[in-house]
Amino acid sequence: MTWQGWLQILIYVAVLTALTPLLGGYMARVYMGRRVVVERALGPVERLFYRAVRTNPSREQNWKQYGTTVLVFSALFWLALYAILRLQGSLPFNPLRFGAAPWNVTFNTTSSFITNTNWQYYGGETTMSQLAQMAGLAVQNFVSAAVGMAVLAAVIRGFARRDTDRLGNFWVDLTRTLLYILLPLSIIGTLVLVSQGVVQTLTSSVDFTGLHGFAQSLALGPVASQIAIKQLGTNGGGFFNVNSAFPFENATQFSNFVEMLFILLIPAAATYQYGKMIGRQRQGWALYVAMLVMFAIGIGNAYFQETRATPALTAAGVHATVGHGSSLGNLQDKEQRFGIANTALWATATTDASNGSVNGSHEAFTGFGGLTPLTNLMTGEVIFGGVGSGLYGMLMLVVLTVFLGGLMVGRTPEYLGKKIQAREVKIVAIGTLYMPVVVLIAAALAIATPAGKKSIFDPGPQGFSETIYAYTSQVNNNGSAFAGYTGFVQPNAPGNKGAMGVTFADLLGGGAMLIGRFIPLLAALAVAGSLARKRPAPAGPGTFRTDSPIFLVLLIGVALVVAALSFLPALALGPIVQGLTHQLF
């Protein structure tokens, strides 16, 4: 570890913290229906859209209606995306004449993008036409992100309001998210990325003879516009197979910083938005601090571990930690321009948020280094988490913590003055505990059946790590991978000719992503619907304060203990065993 590495991590945290109140305050205005700057330009578009979808923007929905609209909208968009991907061979903007990927992979991919997961069994540049990338996948980068943020806005209203069952109008929240938050930030992001060398063109490839006589073919496309929103919307699905390791997707050290910042920007700002919308800024900052502490644990471990050599490099006689410069350590499957610190930082941020983009391979991390991404996923994506989904997931944990705290002191648990009762606690229990159950069952099936083992790439405990990572990532809608794990077999020839999906992995993963998206989403809406009806009681001397350090310790403890109780045995069989042994497999 070097001081330059730590300095970069500190700068990252400082910039993120500085932008949190700025963007968070703005986002709160968007959801509270106040006028925002961009509205001057896009206000007419907003109103036109309401007429097109036949909604009365002032008519609000209760939690069931809100949830129904989300489900119908997502289901129909699922069908539309599936159709685009399957029909890409007959649609325009297909310069390399790619046929469609098989049905099973497409099922997985469609579920993946609808649920804001962006798990990718396919390689973008060898599978997807430009139309599929732009009008299929990148649309979901916007829409699935906006759905999560809209639901969060509704959930926050449930915490903030009293004596009502109304949480907001889904169409209004969706539209304002898209037009006033995601679009302006994406435009800025696109231009910054292009200025650094991220490509943005309709040409699909350039062939030439390189300086030393080798033919090379550059895969190009409308990349920057997709990557900006892929980072902002915690989507993570790359244009290229190696994601943001590829220079045309992440060209320079500066573009890397911007892309990393975009991963946590909106989820972090949401904590401030929350404080503003409930009228108690300290509560928002409290959640920010809780998240930041867990983030710090993750990056501390990942950076430290990745500056060490792996057993394989040591066995090869490589002196990975000797010499000058700060890219010493486990540089396998990492880029020189990012080095160890920035790859560890990215891996931490992308798995804290449910982003899942990568700038180096997580699979090549040291055994203990790989614990950071994996355990981040296992906390249920609440360390900042996905846009929208991260904070509503965290709010569920807050309710759970308040309940546990109430049990300890023997008082009726309250949050923001509202009584937490049996109904809320039951829903929260389902909304948080379904996750380890689904992950462990899916991973057990995948590791114990011949059909599941087909997807494994590396022999030994690494193969187990690949499997547990795959299903933890998909259920939690993250999308990063120990990428040797495969659900799509593509022969050498690009263009999907002769390509085959691995049906077991494709369907199990696709189903897992749908469950992982919609169960917590509906649980959060249900809790919000029930809290909105309650009348807050004024705080008394015996009230358990939820913005105090002791509460934060309890909250972090709950998050970590739930994850540890569920997953420690599984971790011991994979990354921990690898971290402790020098044996090769």
């Binding site: 979808v53 036949r54 732009m134 200025s195 943005q200 063109t201 060209a251 500066f254 055994g367 690898q578």
Partner: protein, 217 residues
């Protein structure tokens, strides 16, 4: 429910057109207008012909010849390659420096396959550089020189790596070492804003400059 369905269908069409076509196409137009070269892949030309992208690493190896002077092939029928001593070498690549079919090596920390690969890379590096840098041992070989990058087309090598290779380049190209070191410095991309990322030497740009100043006879 029925209202939801109608609304959703309309929204799907409108959003697909707006965010799937208008947004990327307008951004393409704007990007092409403001940053034409960057938006098209930062291409590098020599004598009016494209020879690469400054962001994408290239292959500077050469075919290994057998006794009869024919290129050797491996079991898959692919030519066997080794480093060409006349050029600065990029980092090893798991994808033969492909810029249109990319993949990670995905070899875990305890994989024998990774140890074998790294050992082969280390031996080859020492065999290539040791004659020109007699003090070089395994302990002095920079880690970037023997590990594959994430993209397979990492455009950079570490400064340490470039300085070791400089001894060989100076010898085979009959160039003053001091001048080669200056070229390395000129083609080093430092940290962004002085702090972000890691410095690295851009191999393609360095080789271009080198070949211009000290051409092979």
């Amino acid at each position: 429910m029925r209202r939801d369905i109608i609304g959703s269908v309309v929204a799907i069409v409108v959003l697909t057109l707006g965010f799937g076509l208008v947004y990327p196409l307008v951004m393409t137009g704007v990007a092409q207008g403001i940053f034409p070269n960057a938006a098209d892949g930062s291409k590098v030309e020599r004598d009016g012909k494209v020879v690469g992208s400054s962001l994408i690493g290239q292959d500077f190896r050469k075919p290994v010849l057998d006794k009869n002077g024919k290129p050797k092939v491996d079991a898959d029928g692919k030519p066997v390659l080794e480093a060409d001593p006349n050029w600065f070498q990029s980092r090893p690549s798991q994808s033969d420096y492909s810029a249109n079919v990319t993949f990670f090596s995905n070899l875990g920390p305890n994989q024998k396959a990774l140890a074998d690969q790294a050992k082969a890379n280390l031996d080859a590096y020492l065999a290539l550089e040791h004659p020109y840098t007699p003090t070089l041992t395994a302990a002095g070989v920079p880690v970037d020189a023997v590990t594959t990058s994430a993209s397979g087309v990492d455009p950079h090598i570490s400064i340490d790596n470039a300085r070791i290779q400089a001894n060989r380049i100076a010898a085979v190209r009959k160039a003053p070492l001091a001048r080669v070191l200056v070229l390395i410095r000129q083609h080093t991309d430092g940290r962004a804003l002085g702090v972000l990322g890691e410095p690295g030497v851009n191999v393609l740009e360095l080789n271009l400059a080198l070949d211009k100043e000290f051409p092979l006879r």
